[in-house]
């Protein structure tokens, strides 16, 4: 079975990201094993839990969600790139200081750059978008 990983560096409201999702969907349709997607640079913004795009526009975040829930595609975000862009899985709650919150979507896995290395090793091909 052909194996593939994809690196995403474009943000959710960039139309370039639609092309990447389209590519991944076609890879799955062709029977390729999509080992994982790694979000880096401004690409990590795709992992925001609070994206709201107008109903008549392409719902980038819902398409990522669908890739995860319906096709089991692992969506890895680089936490270092996240934090400088306002995304974190360790936000102090102002009311209850003992719990922490996350503004990273539950469909994404918080990872580090080490995961990029893993994906590189585990996949026949790696394509950047």
């Amino acid at each position: 079975m052909q194996t593939l990983s994809v690196v995403i560096t474009t943000p959710p409201c960039s139309y370039s990201t639609i092309t990447a999702i389209d590519y991944i969907n076609h890879a799955i349709k062709a029977g390729v094993n999509v080992v994982g997607v790694f979000f880096y640079q401004d690409g990590v913004l795709n992992a925001s839990a609070n994206i709201a795009i107008a109903n008549d526009e392409y719902q980038t975040h819902k398409h990522w969600q669908k890739l995860n829930t319906e096709h089991g595609v692992n969506l890895h975000v680089c936490i270092t790139a996240c934090e400088k862009r306002g995304l974190s899985d360790d936000i102090g709650d102002t009311v209850n200081t003992e719990v922490t919150q996350s503004n990273i979507s539950q469909y994404f896995t918080v990872s580090g750059l080490g995961e990029l290395v893993e994906l590189t090793a585990k996949s026949e091909k790696m394509v950047q978008f």
């Binding site: 690196v7 560096t9 640079q41 580090g112 990029l116 290395v117 090793a121 950047q128």
Partner: protein, 121 residues
Amino acid sequence: MSESCKKIAILNASSTINQASKEALDAALIYGSYEQSTSLFFQGEGVRQLISNQQLETVHVKDYLKTMAALAFYDIENIYACKASLVERGLAEGFHLDDVQVLSSDAFSDKLHQHNVILRF
């Protein structure tokens, strides 16, 4: 870490004072720390990252270029610069890194072709 004899190329295309350039270096160092065979390529505006005497602190940017000194520690020894990019910009070969190999466009591309994974930042 699963075994991999892949060769990784990080192709640096952004100018110095640029978050992309810093994040490209971070990625290269991680590949190196996992003992992956990794090479750095500088082309286009990317060649500016190699120039000496830049003073990033002047514009409140942390001098991540200093981190490039760690490349050798991670056995990242193949560092290539595109000669045409340097010439186009009127840049002399006074680099802050030793062992940068300045290559013609053809030779630069030949080296790129020896890698299995190429990421461009």
